[in-house]
């Protein structure tokens, strides 16, 4: 029986202290969002089935519930355990449509060809947009991005890896739609960083 085989991975590995853990994870994320480019430590409080990582699953378990449809990228959709783990621990519905998602979980950012298929919100309600959680292996070893904007004193630097292809062009299109747009959360190993839609990319040497 398939249900019996994945029972342990699906039903276990959630928050053992839902109140304290979600607060600690949220504060790290709030600081990351308020100070784009800064890397915040994330406690290890969840143990999800692979390829979902501990940090990405902790962020999702903190934010998602029955009110927020979640979109999974093809890498995550391949694994039934991941889907079941998210549904069991958050109660969120898995949606096949990017434009309906409140959160999008991306295990392979390299396969994310476009940001504009997600919900960007409307001019009247720019908050009705998708927040993307990208699983990255590092926040410091990739190609460096120079950031400017609210929350940043002067300039900040962030180097997540891997990243979506043509990220600079994709992000400039996202920034041009302001106040509409998606917000990015980078879930690295035991750490988190963010790029809200208000952040501008500075071209190197410009």
């Amino acid at each position: 029986m398939p249900a019996a085989t994945h029972t342990p991975t699906v039903y276990e590995g959630g928050f053992s202290d839902p109140v304290g853990s979600s607060q600690a994870v949220f504060r790290a994320l709030m600081d990351a969002m308020a100070r784009p480019g800064s890397v915040q430590d994330l406690p290890v409080v969840t143990a999800p089935p692979a390829p979902l990582t501990a940090s990405a699953s902790a962020l999702l378990a903190t934010l998602a519930d029955a009110d927020t449809p979640v979109w999974l990228d093809p890498t995550l959709m391949k694994t039934t355990e991941v889907k079941d783990w998210i549904v069991f621990h958050t109660g969120a519905e898995i949606t096949p449509h990017q434009s309906e998602a409140a959160f999008a979980l991306v295990a392979s950012p390299g396969g994310l060809a476009a940001l504009n298929g997600f919900s960007l919100g409307t001019q009247e309600f720019p908050d009705r947009s998708t927040t993307l959680i990208l699983q990255v292996s590092s926040l410091t070893d990739g190609a460096a991005l120079t950031l400017e904007g609210p929350g940043i004193k002067g300039q900040a630097s962030l180097a997540p890896d891997p990243m979506p292809p043509h990220f600079e062009a994709q992000w400039q299109a996202n920034r041009a739609a302001f106040p509409r747009g998606v917000d990015l959360v980078f879930a690295g190993p035991d750490c988190v960083a963010a790029m809200p839609r208000s952040t501008r990319l500075v071209r190197e040497g410009a």
Partner: protein
């Protein structure tokens, strides 16, 4: 002391979650806070809950604080700058009871400062969060009562009406007569109501080190200003924005360049001006600063201090 708090809370509040709100409500508020930070100055609608205090007593700020506060946080609450007014005391007690957190009146010791209508005089730092209680979050509301219209005005960045209002001030009074809830433009995009803080505090919002969160409970809106964000008070080239100036220093601690409250002393027109920020005033007096009415003689000063402690 701690055991006592635990006992009382388990007797009376056994069925309540940490920091009063249930986890689903906190998630909903947390999502709104993140959107607010991502779109500085934009008012995010949220499903405001009924709180065990009436509207107007800071239900919005309390909900924001409840969603972000953790067991290790140190909370300070001020009401018009004062730590010892009813609103501030009861909200501090509320979180001491429902979250078991440490509370303080010292600005530098706090990690979360919930405020009603003032920004502390002591400069805030990176490790702190300032939470505002907001009565009417919509800066255009008194100019345009329809929510559908004000929403469209924000969407189209149509803020001409606000400038007309400030111009009418000049036409009637010769200067911009708005002294509190003075409208600001955040990061060149959204016009925002800084809540009814005196305009004296507006410059402190500009490129602040601290994350500023705003909660309006009755109006069901949350908005935010991230640190290091442009916050510009609206004005005209020939009538630039100016803050209030006071002719005399604080009568208790002698501080200048701070916001002062007027206190009537008798029915013969006697009055004094004292710091509105009580912690700032007290810490200055503890450092030996002395205002005109505190008396220059050491004896008088000591007497005044004892009286304060007795209260």
């Amino acid at each position: 002391m701690n055991a006592l708090t635990q006992d009382t809370s388990s007797q009376n509040l056994a069925s309540y979650n940490f920091a009063y709100l249930d986890e689903q409500t906190k998630r909903m508020i947390r999502r709104a806070i993140l959107k607010g930070i991502a779109i500085p100055g934009y008012q995010v609608p949220f499903a405001s809950r009924e709180m065990p205090m009436p509207y107007g007593w800071g239900t919005g700020g309390v909900q924001v604080t409840a969603a972000i506060i953790g067991r290790d946080d140190v909370l300070k609450v001020i009401d018009q700058g004062a730590d010892d007014t009813t609103n501030a005391v009861s909200i501090r007690a509320f979180f001491a009871k429902t979250a078991g957190v440490v509370t303080t009146t010292a600005t530098p010791d706090a990690t979360i400062i919930q405020t009603r209508h003032r920004i502390p005089e002591t400069p805030l730092t990176e490790g702190q969060v300032l939470v505002y209680q907001v009565p009417i979050p919509e800066p255009l509301r008194f100019l345009e009562p329809r929510e559908t219209e004000t929403r469209k005005m924000h969407a189209l960045e149509e803020y001409g009406l606000m400038h007309v209002k400030l111009y009418e001030d000049i036409a009637r009074n010769g200067h911009i007569a708005t002294t509190y809830a003075y409208p600001v433009k955040v990061e060149g995009r959204y016009v925002m109501d800084p809540s009814p803080t005196p305009k004296f505090d507006n410059p402190k919002m500009h490129r602040s080190e601290t994350l500023q969160l705003f909660g309006a409970g009755r109006e069901k809106r949350i908005y935010a200003i991230p640190p290091h964000t442009e916050v510009v008070s609206l004005d005209f080239e020939d009538h630039p924005f100016e803050i209030q100036h006071f002719d005399q220093p604080c009568a208790m601690c002698g501080a200048e360049q701070v916001y002062l409250d007027e206190v009537v002393l008798d029915d013969k027109g006697g009055r004094m001006f004292v710091c509105s920020d009580t912690h700032y005033c007290e810490s200055r007096r503890a450092d030996g600063h002395c205002g005109a009415l505190l008396g220059d003689e050491p004896g008088l000063g000591a007497e005044a201090n004892t009286r304060k402690e007795a209260m």
